[in-house]
Subunit: 113 residues, 2 copies
Amino acid sequence: MSNQDCEPLPEGLTAEKAAELSTMFKALGDPVRLRLLSMIASRPGGEVCVCELTPAFDLSQPTISHHLKLLRQAGLVGSERRGTWVYYRLRPETTARMAAALSCVNDRHAVTA
Amino acid sequence: MSNQDCEPLPEGLTAEKAAELSTMFKALGDPVRLRLLSMIASRPGGEVCVCELTPAFDLSQPTISHHLKLLRQAGLVGSERRGTWVYYRLRPETTARMAAALSCVNDRHAVTA
DNA sequence: AGCCAGTATTGACGTATGTCGAACCAGGAC
DNA sequence: GTCCTGGTTCGACATACGTCAATACTGGCT
């Protein structure tokens, strides 16, 4: 993505855009959720069953479920039930938006080179 | 950055890396801090005086100072005092690291196309 | 020195967040 | 139908977070 995606922004992000973006960043502001997203994304098939995610942590299963819910509400992942199991999948549009926002910041700083 | 920057990660980020990265994401998980970073970055000169940042918000001066401190502790900005005023500057290495992490997530998903 | 403007720190407050156990829901197997 | 397994939701708890007013610090000016 080029810095053409950046808005004019004479004084930075609008309050509305900042509020929207900050919810996505907040969702990744927890080590457990960051690892969850990483584990989900690192599957080439793009889908991971909750039963594979839970045992990777020293946390109760409800806690993992809660973190997955937050990731879903932030638009970072989607979930689908198939039979007994629930599968989570990455939403690449959202991570792409976050990466684009960060690139804007760096482009504007003009130290990208 | 290409997906060569991604680690082998058979099962996602390590707990240590996740903890380190999550503090950066958490720092941007607040709309005020996101706007602050955006305002700092959008200065071509790369420096903004605190006295220019504070009046842009309906918040007390100590609150803005607190948010700037968090941004600094997360490695996202640096500060320098010159005379009476304190100037904040972007640390592009940190935002670049965050963008790289997000790109890894998308690359691994193989839906980047 | 003494004062003043710009920042940072402190202490307190209410709210949000992460975690758990317990209870609840969904589907498959019997 | 009754179980059992995999997940979510509920309620409670301790901690962390965002905010403020008050205070302290810093450096220039007179």
